[in-house]
């Protein structure tokens, strides 16, 4: 098998910090050992709620945070921020699109200048004719006509801004596009356009997608494989079909059950989600399953011992003591 595009092994990231008004010291364990892999031109969804570590994972892949333990390999090369030449190459090959489309563009630069800047910074392309044709090509590929190049961010709608951000990311012909909640802030009708655009770019240009989202329904449309994180740990990783047809982990099931069904006849029948409230008083005991305090199926074993991640058939892996018995429920 060929070397995967991206390989994350046992990734741990701790943020050391001081508490409110520096009254206490504490360390935030953002990622507590995560393994994921992404092949050339494939798409991986990273799903979880706030605090699960999904954005930290993106930052680690970009080399913006240093892992406490574990490693991130880019096409077989373990990311080493001191290797400046290799880092620069990776910065071109790995591009990112963020949630806030306005915040990611310089308000004083035209859309075209923003895209051209990426070409200059990452490829050193400054020849006017080349820049012009590459920028025009990038705009076309995101469905914007040439006229948009001379506009400023405030003259664009949210969806148009996000298209410019995608043009800026793809103009340097990356191999991986990280989308960190890239469609979450958009209106439904525009969100659909951008999801389709990302699917097209990935297919036509063979760009791998690392799609970070809290919305499983969007992930289902876009990703070949899905990794579910909970409090910094991988709880389930599965090919799309397996994850949505037979979710193994109780948290994955809860996430799926929580997506509001856009159908009044179905939605009105749904009862309370049997999941304890998140937040204070529910931090898991050391060494226990992190999800146990909220899990409707937790037993003594779950509260005592953390389940290891294990293969669970159909190409899936899951970290749950009870996945076998729950599969028949």
């Amino acid at each position: 098998m060929s070397t995967p595009l991206l390989e994350v092994r046992g990734l741990r990231v701790d943020y050391a910090g001081s508490g409110f008004l520096r009254t206490r010291r504490h360390t935030v364990h953002a990622l507590r050992g995560v393994d994921v892999e992404l092949g050339e031109g494939r798409s991986l969804g990273i799903v979880g709620e706030s605090g699960c570590g999904k954005s930290t994972l993106a930052r680690a892949v970009l080399g913006l945070v240093t892992p406490t333990a574990g490693e991130v390999s880019w096409r077989g090369w373990t990311i080493d921020t001191s290797d400046r030449a290799r880092m620069l190459q990776m910065r071109r090959e790995v591009q990112v699109v963020f949630q806030d489309p306005f915040g990611s563009l310089d308000p004083r630069m035209t859309a075209g200048a923003s895209v051209a800047e990426a070409l200059d910074a990452l490829e050193g392309v400054t020849d006017a004719a080349t820049v012009r044709s590459r920028v025009a090509g990038a705009f076309r590929s995101v469905g914007l006509d040439d006229g948009f190049a001379s506009r400023y961010p405030h003259e664009l709608s949210g969806g148009q801004c996000q298209r410019v951000a995608i043009a800026r990311a793809t103009v340097v012909r990356p191999r991986l596009l990280i989308c960190d909640e890239a469609v979450s802030a958009l209106d439904v009708s525009v969100q659909a356009q951008i999801v389709n655009l990302l699917a097209d770019l990935s297919r036509r240009q063979g760009i791998g997608l690392l799609f970070i989202s809290h919305n499983l329904a969007v992930v289902r449309h876009l990703c070949d494989e899905v990794a579910v994180l909970y409090l910094g740990r991988l709880v389930e990783r599965a090919p799309r079909e397996a994850l949505f047809a037979t979710p193994r982990h109780p948290y994955t099931r809860a996430l799926l059950a929580a997506v509001p069904a856009p159908d009044p006849r179905v939605a009105s029948r749904l009862g309370t989600v049997a999941l304890a409230e998140e937040g204070a008083g529910l931090s898991p005991a050391a060494g226990a399953c992190a999800f146990a305090p909220r899990c409707p199926h937790a037993t003594e074993t779950c509260r005592r011992q953390r389940p290891e991640i294990e293969p669970a058939g159909d190409g899936t892996v899951v970290a749950c003591h009870r996945w076998r018995e729950l599969a028949t429920v």
């Binding site: 439904v188 289902r220 009105s268 989600v273």
Partner: protein, 335 residues
């Protein structure tokens, strides 16, 4: 002049009656019409969802009713709450009304809560300040409401500060707070948008239970998934006007307005074919400062014809539902 024939038979049930309500903002680029004439009833005991994308005017419509527009905003037309006119009412009378008769829950619960006050004090503040209740009574009601919105150990939470609570718990507190004075109407503006999905599901359950107790609610949201599980009726807004009103089942199963139909089609669904393309609406909604001619949806509408580009359709009522379209869909998108 009320212009909805369909509403005549239910006029006596209207808790809040909006008639040709308009909201205009004075900006550097000139006046911007955020709401361009909305006539709509909120019936006693119903949950009415007002759905629209950003810039549709859905939030400004109700902020205008409550006198909460920014300083450059102006409201015209009529909004009557239990027969009392709100447009042009003094700030004093509107202030008395807010909180007491209309509870407001907003997207960010941190905005509703004061960081340096204990949860219990905040819950009781309004009714104690107004002299509606004495402390023991207010405390009992606060604890009861906290329990009813699903806050575990309310006595302990009563003594805590907002930062000690999770986002979902804060939103529950904000809902309980809106209920303290026993309002006739609850306006919930994107109440679950800032919450995680599992927490959203729980807060929606709370709202569903309150609806079961006969509460009148206006649910302002961009999320049709949220609407499906909660609303009795839905009003869809686009470019400052209501383009469709229908019961929630009618709206989802046989939308009349092409915008509603397209909006429904573009929702990512868990029961769709995996990896399928999403149906999307080309183009963008018009910007509020744009000059509109004809139907505001015409530039994006697959069924637009000459007439649609020439004149703006009015909201026409029939059989308890309404749509503003020259060529409404007969029986939904699929038919």
């Amino acid at each position: 002049m009320r212009s909805t024939p369909g509403s005549a038979d239910v006029a006596d049930e209207a808790l809040l009656a909006l008639d040709d309500l308009r909201v205009t903002f004075d900006t550097e680029q000139g006046p911007v019409q955020a709401v361009r004439g909305v006539t709509l009833d909120v019936r006693a005991g119903e949950c009415l969802a007002v759905v629209g994308e950003s810039g549709s005017g859905k939030s400004q419509l109700f902020l205008a009713c409550l006198g909460l527009l920014s300083a450059n905003g102006q409201t015209l037309g009529s909004a009557r709450l239990q027969g009392v006119e709100l447009v042009g009412a003094t700030e004093r009378s509107l202030a008395a009304l807010r909180g007491a008769r209309v509870g407001l829950v907003s997207q960010d619960p941190m905005n509703a809560l004061t960081p340096h006050m204990k949860i219990g004090e905040q819950l009781m503040e309004f009714v104690l300040d107004r002299g509606h209740m004495k402390t023991p009574e207010a405390r009992a009601r606060a604890l009861e409401l906290m329990r009813s919105v699903g806050i575990a150990e309310p006595e302990a939470r009563f003594e805590q500060y907002p930062h000690e609570l999770s986002g979902g718990q804060r939103q529950r507190v904000a809902i309980a707070m809106a209920f303290m004075p026993g309002p006739a109407l609850l306006v919930a503006d994107e109440p679950t948008t800032a919450l995680d999905v599992t927490v959203q599901a729980q807060v929606l359950d709370v709202l569903r239970q309150l609806r079961g107790q006969g509460l009148t609610t206006v649910l302002i949201t961009h999320d049709l998934g949220v609407v499906a599980g909660l609303a009795d009726r839905v009003a869809v807004m686009y470019a400052g006007v209501v383009v469709e009103v229908a019961s929630v089942v009618e709206l989802f199963e046989s939308p009349r307005h092409p915008y509603t139909a397209a909006l429904l089609e573009s929702i990512p669904r868990l029961d769709a074919k995996p990896g399928a393309r999403l149906a999307s609406i080309e183009g963008q909604p018009p910007r509020p400062q744009e000059r509109l001619q004809g139907c505001p949806f015409a530039p994006r509408c697959p069924g637009a014809r000459e007439r649609c580009r020439a004149s703006e359709p009015r909201l026409e009522w029939g059989a308890g539902r309404a749509s503003a379209c020259h060529a409404p869909l007969p029986g939904g998108w699929a038919a």
